[in-house]
Amino acid sequence: MRIPGLERDGSRHKTFNRRLALLGGGKLTLAAVLMGRMYYLQVLESDQYHMLAEENRISMRLLAPPRGLIMDRFGRELASNRQNYRVVLIAEQTKGVADTLDRLAHIVPINSHQRRRVLREVKRKRPFVPIKVAENLTWEQFARINVLLPDLPGVQPDVGEGRYYPVGVETAHIVGYVSSVSEADLTGDPLLELPGFRIGKNGIEKVYDESLRGKAGNSRVEVNAYGREIRELARQDGQPGHDVVLTIDADLQEKISRRLRDESAAAVVMDIHQGDILAMVSAPSYDPNAFNLGMSTKAWRTLIQHPRKPLINKAIAGQYPPGSTFKMLVALAAMEAGIAGPGHEVFCNGVIRLGKSKFHCWRHRYGGHGMMDMKQAIAQSCDIYFYDLARRIGVDRIGAMARRFGLGEALDIELVGEREGLVPSKDWKLAVTGVPWQLGETLITGIGQAYLLATPLQLAVMTARLANGGIAVRPKLSRHLKPQDDAEGAGEDADDDRTSQNDGNNIRTTDEGAPPIGVSAANLQIITDAMSEVVNGRRGTARKYKLDKELGMKMAGKTGTAQVRRITKAERKAGGKLGKGTPWKERDHALFTAFAPVGAPRYATAVVVEHGGSGTYAAKLTKDIMAEVLRADPLARSAMGRTSHAPNNATDRPNNADNADNTGNKERKT
């Protein structure tokens, strides 16, 4: 068989085979490259890629710890965590977000602003991320949503934790409030970046924020490429925040608040030995829960612009001339300097001249007080007597004494916004104004005016130091911090346990470490006797406001009237004092500092009523406040009832708001 071209095919076949070998070699080389690459990626670089794969896969989710509680001295909760019923929407589970919102709006009110926010977030976030629609629902709303859930695709009821202040308005200035984290608050604690996390913005909530906050836990979750959680791999619960126990007696605080409700005023009640602040009221107040729920701009503006400044804690941030409440310190300074004893006498005819100026006594219309000794001068608050004393001892010695009693310096109370007040001196005036000190200013410093400024807290501390025998007690608001899970007294925290035992019976005569001021006890006795005379004496300025007989205890105190503006000559002629027709803003501040019981004092108070007219008005309020204090007698109760752990006491005592009402009703019936 001869086939045309077959012989030629032989050479083509040879070329083909040769070239095929070449091509095969090339392919093998490429296959080897592939294998090399596999080896490189899967063996040499494997660890690195393994790590990257884990990083891809595992996401750390922070778990917010429960915030510590804030309790009063008897364990009554002032700040607690309440279940916050919320409703969230998951966009991928519904076909029409708008439609679902419409249906939901039949159950919970959703205003146009909320609606727009939800729709905006739906667009921005991944479809499986829950979006908050409304929170702080009532139980009824929450229950209805749960029942109607089949008709509400994409809607998910959710229970979160929210801060709640059961007492609220009455303790707002002490406890403070929490609010959303602002950019300036970020410290690097990852907790702060959790959406919806809230931190203390004022009061104890702010000062003890870090202790209350606790430590974040975390959860390692497996996520897919879109960030959806697949499952939890490991979980480490955080450390709950520590509870804070305050020195406050919340019941007392509420009663005093109620008494001051209609005033623009501040009142401080403290333990003169320990420095415990038992009540600290600033009126008017505000509702801290409103901050947590989210306040409207309008409500916020109302608060800010209120003429009586409800947001300001007047007890620590309000600075007032102490007026006549300062006279005790002038008298004490004179005695300590050896310039005037209790027998020192001055005749008051209502006016004293210094060069061309006249200095009046508040009683100059009636021709003055007549002959005054030190005790009567304090009891009747004679201005002429203290002009004389002040001139004799000089402003710098007065100022030094004032500072020893806590005026003119921060007392480091555990709150935000404490003011220092002001105690002037010659150097101070020259440095600040460039004008030398005038003798006339020394005179009016003697009656607590001129440049002097003090906060109600400082006045309470001053009174406490006078009444406790001259110990430089410092005020405090918190007793101790304790771990939240320590309710059974397991004593995990040794340190904490020790302090608890020390506090155990709580009868400490002096604050540990509080040094004596170094004034003579005899001189202090003269001052406190004179203060008793103010209330209990025949001619005392507060003689109308003795404590009721049935209490069986007496209080001592001192009135003070602080001028808001100078009295013009014309006014002095017309009546000397600012009358009823004076605008509220121009009326004098009314002050009264007090301690009780006379003889064995335990409580000191300071009450300042802004534009209250005269010190006797503050005395009238103090009478009621002191009566409440003595009736409640929180120091005695804590001495008897207190064991190491506050919450136990809370259950012993019928002290919750509800219980108190119930017992009240029963008593009335019987």
Partner: protein
Amino acid sequence: MGRQVDLTLLQKLAQINWLLIVLITMIAGVGFAMLYSAANGNIDPWASRQMIRYSAGLGLMLLIALIDIRTWLRHAYLIYGAALLLLLAVEVMGVVGMGARRWVDLGLFQLQPSEVMKIALVLALARFYHGLPMEEVGRIRWLLAPAAMILVPVALVMRQPDLGTAILLMATATAILLLAGVRLWKFAVALGAVLLAIPLAWRFMLHGYQKDRVLTYLNPERDPLGAGYHIMQSKIALGSGGVFGKGFMQGTQSHLAFLPERQTDFIFTMLAEEFGLVGCFSLLSLYILVIAYGYAIAIRSRNQFGRLLATGVISTFFLYLFINMAMVMGLIPVVGVPLPLVSYGGTSMISLLIGFGLLLSVYVHRDIVIPRRPS
């Protein structure tokens, strides 16, 4: 006359290289397993449909294997012409999908003419060089016709745009020309021309996303969340597989959807993550065995058409797997080329099995000597 006696159907069936079919089925089986894993342990939606396609393709393959090789030779240009018409049809009335126009709707089913062209071009070139005597092969003017045969479909495919297929067509054609005996220096000249053409192509021919892919390949960190994301995630998945892998259905990267298109172009990554280096080498070995079989068939064929057809089919097969593997391992830019017989997708599966049908046909009819110019 010089024609051998035609084989009977039974003789042909006996001649079929069953071992090659077993190898192909093993590779397809790997694909079924990976598709089962990709669907998180479900036979639906991918594995089941892939099995049906494979079964259908297998039947088609056997049918083609039994058809006389001379029939294929006779109709080679006809098939090529039809494929070219289909490509033109895409140009005119194609269906746009995934940002590219690659499909043509034939009423009953959608056809991807570029897949048909892969086989048609091999057939046409094999026929052309079968009829060309050795001394003519060397002449430049005899290079014009094959050049046109290659460049026209390549240009049409580039316009779709489908860079992967265009490269595949070019490379397969080059292999055939090489084996047919075209002088080596001509390849050098062509290579030089291509290198010169690259800047021009960059300016005028490549689309934005294609440029992106090349740039991303050159610097994967250029855009780690954009175009570079796929290749980065692919490398992470591959590398984290290690030597033995994470286990069947345990691949975190793939199952947590970090890996894009895990059932199609990136299925090899998934295999690498779940079965490690061992799995990769095993699959690659299976592929190399198939290729070796293809070579053996080509060498044993007693006609130039059969030899070129067999090597053309095998070269396409090799290029598929090389481009795909090199792509997922970050060796070359991302081009949309599936892993042969494993990736999910009907068209490439069918066209590959048709190719293997032709390969088997070459084997079955290996002893038939065909004159250069058949009557």
